[in-house]
């Protein structure tokens, strides 16, 4: 039972399904613990910001969701590359299971950003480079989900989605830098986050919240990949065994 053997073992849906089921409660528990700790530090321990008042506390949601929205796209592209290179069934399912969570994170990041922007900048939206590229990231998530949803054949959906993800991941830096340059050339609203050295407590709160969102994303993605596995492999023996076993 060496490590290598284990990895290949769990690349099969039949063995990954029960493993995912066992792991989900742990990730949920870790997510709740990190979330409670992060909220406690963020809402009660961290001092009021002398410039921004209490309103700044929304960054404890905003920053972790932005990080997760970018990170999840990279993880999806990673699974896409694995799936295209080794032709594994599970990789495409993982990428698909992650997509709605990634889109949710991008949306939450934009929404909380707007809620933060109104009291701080006096406007819901500015065409700042970061905001614009986060919006484009949301578009990329939506495009991926629309493409995968439009293809009936699951294997083709996985591969086509994988190519789109890889093309997207190559384009993200180009899009980011072009938007950034566009913004500086247009000399739009000169908003920049005057990052004074952030108090250490705030940083801890933010890191804990990021961990909480991370654990949440893993738990939700695993739950979603379990249903995907059942749906796709519904004609196989292990699914019948699993479902009949559950009923008894």
């Amino acid at each position: 039972m060496n490590d290598r053997f284990n990895l290949y073992r769990f690349a099969s849906p039949a063995t990954f399904y029960p493993l995912a089921g066992r792991l989900i409660p742990w990730f949920i528990a870790a997510g709740i613990l990190f979330g409670l700790a992060g909220l406690y530090i963020g809402m009660l321990v961290a001092p009021t910001d002398f410039q921004q008042g209490e309103g700044y506390r929304i960054i404890f949601i905003h920053v972790p969701t932005s990080w997760m929205s970018m990170f999840i796209y990279l993880v999806m592209a990673f699974w896409a590359a694995i799936g295209l290179a080794f032709n594994t069934r599970l990789s495409g399912m993982m990428a698909q299971a992650l997509a709605p969570t990634g889109a949710l994170m991008a949306f939450l990041s934009l929404w909380t950003g707007a809620l933060w922007g109104k009291p701080m900048w006096g406007t819901w939206w500015v065409w700042d480079a970061r905001l614009t590229s986060e919006l484009i990231l949301l578009f990329l998530y939506i495009g991926y989900m629309a493409l995968v949803a439009a293809i009936d054949d699951a294997r083709r959906a996985d591969k086509a989605g994988g190519i789109l993800l890889l093309v997207g991941v190559v384009n993200i830096p180009i899009i980011y830098f072009s938007v950034k340059w566009w913004n500086t050339l247009h000399q739009g609203s000169s908003v920049n986050l005057t990052k004074s050295a952030m108090a250490e407590v705030m940083l801890w709160g933010m890191l804990l919240m990021a961990l909480a969102f991370w654990m949440y994303s893993i738990a939700v993605a695993l739950a979603r990949v379990r249903t995907l596995m059942l749906e796709r492999e519904r004609h196989t023996d292990w699914v019948r065994k699993t479902l009949v076993g559950d009923e008894q």
Partner: protein, 222 residues
């Protein structure tokens, strides 16, 4: 190797010439969309001059989008695409030929008609020149990136709308630098930097995108 590219270009051009209505309607779509903006915004010349680069470029993106679904669809339907994929030549080279042919019948006419529309927006002579150059240099990238989207959505229901969802976000850099080149010329900064970046994007897109679309085509043909 070059021969396969040129023969695909010649074939696609011949097919396009037999159906000239398609080319002309995409071109008139461009003209109509551009003409709608003054009607919506109002005829103030200063405002129009400022909006012209963005309006022309957005209309050019949309007009390119219109002709993309047909890039592979006809060949897919009558089985030609399968024969091309079975040929001993790399599919990426064949797609390169198709992308170049697509640009010749969609991007090039847009660039030729753009200066006339620019005059309607009261652009200066120099700005018109840069606008034409930018559309000439930028539209091959649109054809290249668009080919990936066309290959991914080949044979899917609702392919046209889906194609725009996939491709338009990827067009953003071309839009920014294409319109930026004209903006920079109008404001006196000089658009050479933008044009260089646009050319770089075009070369990157023509070089790499056909191989990604070839991979997507192989999936669609499975």
């Amino acid at each position: 190797m070059l021969k396969i590219v040129t023969s695909v270009i010649a074939r696609d051009l011949k097919l396009a010439m037999r159906r000239q209505a398609d080319i002309v309607s995409a071109l008139f779509f461009f003209v109509i969309v551009v003409s709608l903006f003054p009607l919506g915004i109002g005829p103030e010349v200063d405002l129009l001059r400022q909006l012209a680069p963005g309006v022309l470029w957005v209309a050019a993106l949309l007009a390119t989008m219109l002709s993309l679904p047909r890039l592979f669809a006809d060949d897919y339907r009558d089985g030609t695409l399968e024969q091309l994929a079975l040929s001993p030549h790399p599919l990426g080279l064949i797609v390169t030929g198709k992308v170049i042919a697509h640009w010749l019948v969609s991007g090039l006419p847009l660039a030729l008609i753009a200066p006339i529309l620019g005059i309607q927006f009261d652009l200066s002579g120099e700005a018109l020149l840069v606008l034409t150059g930018a559309i000439l240099l930028g539209t091959p990238a649109l054809s290249g990136i668009g080919a990936i989207g066309a290959a991914l959505t080949l044979g899917l229901r609702g392919g046209g709308v889906l194609l725009s969802l996939l491709v338009l976000p990827l067009y953003i850099p071309v839009l920014i630098f294409g319109a930026g080149a004209v903006d920079a010329t109008v404001s006196g900064l000089g658009g050479e930097g933008h044009l260089s970046l646009l050319t770089a994007m075009t070369f990157a897109a023509i070089g790499f995108a056909p191989w990604a679309s070839a991979a997507a085509l192989k999936i669609a043909l499975e």
